[in-house]
């Protein structure tokens, strides 16, 4: 191979790989990310059944119920709307009624119940997911003493 051909081979291979990587990243962005919603957004969102989303808000006071076995139901609220959630597993240490929570999962066909496979509440007693706080503020909900959050 001549000098020029060698260089072309290396540059060509590199460019091909990078283009493939970019396409892969774009494909993954279209497939593998979850949008964040609070209950009030859902009516406008028109989600296809089974779309993975993150649902954030406060755990409604008095809504936490333990069903048979490990299944837990509770409601996530932005104080205006609420969404019932079921979750099977152990809740995080900081999960409490009246506190912020983010549930990841989807709505199954036509059901109004959100099936969560992951429930997050973070490692600080005053923690509310930033997403939740921002959305709640945008909806005009006063967070009272919880304004000063991470």
């Amino acid at each position: 191979m001549t000098r020029k051909q060698k260089r072309l081979a290396i540059i060509g291979g590199g460019v091909t790989f990078i283009v493939a990587a970019v396409l892969l990243v774009m494909f993954a962005f279209s497939q593998a990310i979850a949008y964040f919603y609070v209950p009030g957004d859902l009516a406008k969102a028109h989600l296809a059944p089974g779309t993975r989303i993150r649902l954030g808000g406060l755990v409604e006071n008095g809504s936490l119920k333990r069903g048979d076995g490990m299944t837990i139901t509770f409601s996530v609220t932005d104080t205006l709307d609420r969404v019932p959630v079921t979750y099977t597993g152990i809740l995080p240490d900081l999960f409490r009624e009246g506190q912020g929570v983010v549930a990841e999962g989807s709505f199954k066909d036509g059901s109004p119940v959100f099936v969560a496979d992951t429930v997050l509440a973070k490692h600080d007693e005053t923690y509310m997911p930033k997403d939740v706080a921002d959305r709640l503020k945008a909806q005009g909900v006063s967070l009272g003493g919880k304004e000063n959050i991470q």
Binding site: M1, K6, A21, L24, I33, R66, P129, D131, Q150
Partner: protein, 661 residues
């Protein structure tokens, strides 16, 4: 009074760094030795001053001096002594001070061990180090002063975040920073070379040990952080693709690329410009990581209390250094002569392939980490980019590299023989296939990707051993000769093999856990049993206890196999009284490289308790592999070439006896 001394020492350190940032460069321009020598003295002095400052903060924490705001916010008189020490960096201010301490430590090391460097290069390197030190000292003094006093000293502190009350906090951040910040030396070398406009193989030889040292520490820091998250958080996960984890992983990927490209430059004088760019990018990624973690743009356990001015300040530092470095690169890179030529199929070609994939993978992780921030800033919509994205992109991109790992060291420099290497790797491929099919039978099938992944890991291990086997000539010569040949090999050959073997081991661990772990969530009452991973766990009951600053409820489990009790484990939930915060202390039992992981959930009304039990097959391979990689880094670092290969000044021989005069 002592506290104020710590504050003054830090101010003084800033002053000395400013001198160190300017005078040596002027000295290097004018050829003034005295001015250049100031860099060496100042680097040692700055380190000493920052160390004093850090020592004072440690003193305040250990003596629980709650008149210091930082101590009051992050400590408690009742916590065990070790957490009073580690609590020094378990908060924003202290952790930035540790950052600067380690930065000045590396500058001092360059000053101490840089005698064999050309005078001007050393002066410029130390000056660039001082720019960084000055910027971050200023950041601490203006926005994050750990020595702020409270007017009325409270009687008790607010306690250290319970999640951080663990031995992990004593080890993980210092190791991580040694890696992160260690790359600053590579950055400074790159900038110094650009300032001088001179770059040769010797430069690569000087940079390589620093890269190796930083890389080894970063590997250790990341692995330690992963293991810590695994046992402390109680979720049984070891990597979450959390932005903060990515912030440390991106410099690791870039640093790994740098390690390999510096090799090409050192041996063949090729890839010079690329290596310099990579050195700049690696530390830039460290800076970006510092920004992401410390500025509060991300919510995470690592973002302690946040304050917008800090974010803006670090962002300014970031723009200044990355922008400045890249501009300098753009102006000066053309002056650097391109190096030797090589065929696409050659050792150099393989290392280019390595660099291409590692940097693309790093860019992918970076994109996934920053995309949510960018999208929110531009459109306001919020997304989470989580494990599905990273597994899909990063996993697929790395695959060709993993396949190629055993090929690299077997290819010849300049012009390699791919077919010949393939033939020599025949045994390694066979071993991979055998292991894959063995797993297939042992698991009665199993996901095809998992079998492929484990086979790939086995092939990488066998392939890395192939090089040692071939170079020893085992099978062709007698054992004694082979052993002599092996011991004659440069240590870096063993380092390479160890690191590549480690990668294979980690891969096997990751694949095995991902594919074959089992999870059971059950409600258990005392006396009940559950099966997991071939073991039976019997729940014996709960017990209440008290620690120094927490109360806890612990469940006791007896683990038996085929009816015979083999082990027992305690799993607890703690409640930290000062912060009114619960934590889960998982119970973990190790069997070979596999683990049983027991996490306690909520108590039920009828006296039962929810228990989450994982069987984690071969999970220890993940961190065991990292240990191999670290060993590889350490062994390479001890290579003769790096110790004495760099042109060293002849030591002055002292006559044993002074001649009588």
């Amino acid at each position: 009074m002592i506290i104020e001394l710590g504050h003054y020492a830090l101010v003084l350190a800033l002053g000395v760094s400013l001198l160190q940032a300017v005078l040596p460069i002027i000295g290097a321009l004018r050829g003034d030795r005295a001015l250049m020598e100031i860099g060496t003295v100042a680097a040692k002095a700055t380190f000493l001053l920052v160390a004093i400052s850090f020592g004072v903060l440690t003193y305040a924490h250990v003596t629980s001096d709650f008149s210091v705001q930082n101590v009051w916010e992050n400590s408690h008189s009742q916590i065990p002594l070790i957490y009073k020490f580690s609590g020094v960096w378990g908060n924003h201010e202290g952790s930035m001070l540790l950052w600067v301490l380690i930065l000045t430590f590396f500058s001092a090391l360059v000053a101490l061990f840089g005698d064999n460097l050309p005078e001007t290069l050393k002066a410029n390197v130390l000056a660039v180090q001082a720019w960084i030190a000055a910027a971050f000292s200023l950041f601490i003094l203006l926005t994050s002063n750990p020595f702020n006093r409270l007017l009325d000293a409270p009687g008790e502190g607010q306690d250290l975040n319970p999640v951080l009350q663990d031995i992990g906090l004593a080890i993980h951040p210092p190791l991580l920073y040694l890696g992160y910040v260690g790359f600053s030396v590579c950055f400074s070398f790159a900038i110094a070379a650009l300032i001088e406009g001179r770059l040769d193989a010797a430069w690569a030889r000087w940079v390589r040990p620093w890269t190796l040292a930083a890389w080894t520490c970063l590997t250790a820091g990341i692995a330690m952080g992963s293991y810590w998250a695994y046992y402390e958080l109680g979720w049984g996960g070891w990597w979450f693709w959390d932005p903060v984890e990515n912030a440390s992983f991106i410099p690791w990927l870039a640093g790994t690329a740098l390690l390999h490209s510096a090799l090409v430059m050192e041996k063949r004088e090729a890839l010079k410009i690329w290596t310099v760019l990579l050195a700049i990018m690696t530390f830039s990624m460290s800076l970006l990581g510092t920004f992401l973690v410390r500025s509060g743009v991300l919510t995470s356990v690592h973002a302690f209390a946040t304050d917008p001015t800090r974010g803006v300040f670090i962002l300014m530092i970031l723009i200044l250094f990355i922008g400045g470095a890249l501009s300098l690169f753009a102006f000066r890179a053309a002056r650097l002569k391109a190096g030797g030529l090589f065929a696409p199929i050659s050792r150099e070609g393989a290392l280019v392939f390595n660099n291409l994939i590692l940097t693309t993978a790093a860019a992918t992780v970076l994109t996934g980490t920053l995309y949510p921030l960018a999208l929110e800033a531009v459109t306001g919509s919020k997304i989470s980019v989580g494990p599905p994205f990273f597994n899909m992109t990063f996993g697929l991109l790395m695959l060709p590299l993993l396949l190629a790992v055993p090929f690299g060291p077997l290819l010849a420099w300049k012009r390699g023989d791919l077919l010949g290497v393939g033939q020599r790797l025949f045994a390694a491929v066979a071993i991979g296939l055998v292991v894959g099919s063995a797993i297939y039978y042992a698991q009665n099938g199993g996901p095809i990707m998992a079998l492929f992944g484990i086979a790939l890991g086995a092939y990488m291990i066998a392939g890395s051993l192939t090089e040692l086997y071939l170079r020893s000539g085992l099978g062709k010569v007698t054992g004694a000769v082979a052993l002599r040949r092996l011991s004659g090999l440069p240590r870096s050959v063993f380092g390479t093999a160890l690191a590549h073997i480690g990668l294979g081991i980690t891969l096997i661990g990751i694949v095995a856990v991902t594919a074959f772990e089992t999870e059971h969530i059950v409600e258990m009452k005392p006396g009940m049993t559950t099966d997991a991973g071939g073991y039976t766990l019997r729940f014996d009951g709960l017990r209440n206890g008290n620690g120094p600053n927490y109360s806890e409820e612990s469940g006791h489990f007896t683990i038996s196999r085929a009816g015979v009790a083999v082990a027992d484990v305690w799993s607890s939930k703690r409640f930290y009284t000062a912060r009114r915060m619960p934590t889960t202390e998982a119970g973990i039992r190790t069997f070979g490289t596999s683990q049983l992981y027991v996490s306690l959930g909520d108590g039920m009304a009828d006296g039962g308790v929810v228990v989450r039990i994982w069987w984690k097959p071969m999970i220890l391979c993940i961190w065991g592999g990292a240990l191999f990689m670290m060993a590889g880094g350490a062994v390479s670092l001890s290579d003769r070439r790096l110790r004495i290969g760099a042109p060293a000044r002849a030591r002055k021989k002292k006559p044993l006896l002074e001649p009588a005069e």
